[in-house]
């Protein structure tokens, strides 16, 4: 039977842990709101870029001089996996689920005899993958000092990827991130970046019978548009990721707070019972002492 004092100490420590998890949950909730806003505001750009790409690509399908970012190198030997995770832990299975998906993909590709290179974005994913795949990691980005993910970070990643592609260091690039569905549900998503999967035109914009004129010409525009599109895709993945991370943290901290509450209840019960037992014991001692007289 633990002593009363040790029980009291434990209850207090669980209580202060609960305070921390509760505070973290609140912080995550407000950060989540901001992340969602950022994702919301980034939507017009990517939507319009998609529409532009779609109308460009429809006029260019199957052309020989299509940019390489779109058609790829024609090979499928070296794969680049961009694994985007968070910088911090304490967010449930957020980081490990991305790392797990990336690891599975890497092993599958290795099993097929392909070469795999990993670019880790975020400290947590890098640390996780380092354990068994450290020889595959060719670089990483650490954004732990960046407060809010902005387009600058995405452009930085895209530039690096593009430079590597230009140098022929890989054939196919895929990014792994968590797509935000709701606070309690985030889905690990892998998206192919290079060769670019061009969006299908969902609805032909109404041009009143006219067709697009291109200035300079399609290929040249596409050549400029595709690198931007790469950055936009990365940016979107990062935004989704940061919203997911906060969502995951929020529900993880919510669970932790609830568990701490349960623990406090249990400990308080034991504490009261012990206290009662001690009182009873003392009473018995007094009574039997009196009887012995």
């Amino acid at each position: 039977m633990p002593s009363l004092k040790s029980l009291r100490v434990r209850i207090n420590s669980v209580k202060s842990t609960q305070k921390i998890t509760k505070a973290m949950k609140m912080v995550a909730a407000s950060k989540l709101r901001r992340a969602q806003e950022a994702a919301e505001q980034a939507r017009p750009y990517s939507a319009r870029m998609e529409r532009m790409l779609a109308s460009l690509a429809s006029g260019l399908a199957g052309a020989d001089d299509a940019p390489r970012l779109m058609v790829g190198t024609g090979r499928d030997e070296t794969h680049l996996l961009i694994v985007a995770t968070g910088e911090r832990g304490l967010c449930g299975g957020f980081n490990s689920s991305i790392a797990r998906a990336a690891r599975r993909k890497a092993q599958e590709l290795l099993g097929q005899g392909k070469t795999v290179k990993i670019l880790a974005v975020g400290r947590k994913g890098r640390d996780n993958l380092k354990r068994d795949l450290s020889r595959l990691i060719i670089g990483d980005f650490d954004f732990s000092k960046v407060k809010r993910i902005s387009f600058v970070e995405a452009a930085e990643i895209a530039e690096r990827v593009q430079a590597m592609f230009a140098a022929g260091e890989f054939d196919v690039a895929t990014i792994f991130y968590n797509r935000f569905v709701s606070v309690i549900s985030q889905v690990v998503t892998e998206q192919q970046l290079i060769p670019a999967k061009l969006p299908e035109l969902s609805e032909q914009p109404d041009l009143g019978g006219a067709i697009y004129e291109f200035e300079p010409d399609e290929t040249e525009i596409l050549e400029k548009l595709l690198p931007r599109n790469l950055a936009v895709q990365v940016y979107r993945a990062l935004l989704e990721n940061s919203a997911s991370e906060q969502g995951a943290r929020m529900s993880a901290m919510d669970n932790a707070t609830r568990n701490a509450g349960e623990m406090i209840n249990k400990l308080t019960l034991v504490y009261n019972r012990t206290r009662q037992a001690a009182i009873t014991k003392e009473l018995i001692e007094i009574i039997s002492g009196a009887e012995a007289l």
């Binding site: 017009p44 870029m49 230009a166 200035e215 525009i221």
Partner: protein, 137 residues
């Protein structure tokens, strides 16, 4: 009153501007072009320069500097995708010379790296354009 064209300026981070305008002059890669309602559908790349918005009559109601980007015209809308855009009023002229110097250093630094050189040159052209336009007016 003539029909108006919907002009939208979008950056990756947010929708910067959405207005009804009579005419918008855009710095296209192969020369400036003005967009009025009913313009031929067009997709063009932009060079660093300024977008002039005429909401009413022939007075420029707002002027925005862009460092390249893309413009899409379809019927009565004009969408400009720009990564870097600054309003005329937001320009701090005192800081410009230093920024231009920094951009020049960037061009020198880029050396033979084609990608970097292009980006640095674009930035320099953008800043120089801003400097020229703001000192004249």
């Amino acid at each position: 009153m003539a029909d108006k064209v919907t002009f939208e300026l979008v950056s990756p981070e947010r929708l910067l501007l959405s207005v009804q305008a009579e005419m918008v002059v855009v710095p296209g890669e192969e020369g400036d072009f003005a967009v009025l309602a009913g313009h031929q559908p067009l997709i063009s790349t932009l060079r660093p320069g300024s977008i002039d918005v005429y909401t009413e009559g022939d007075k420029i109601s707002s002027r925005i500097f862009v460092a390249g980007g893309f413009a899409e015209v379809s019927l009565d809308r004009l969408t400009v995708l720009a990564e870097e855009a600054r309003r005329f009023e937001e320009i701090d002229r005192a800081k410009l010379p230093a920024q231009i110097e920094a951009a020049k250093a960037g061009v020198d630094e880029a050396g033979s790296d084609e990608l970097k050189l292009a980006a640095a040159e674009e930035k320099l052209a953008y800043l120089q354009h801003i400097a020229e336009t703001t000192t004249v007016s």
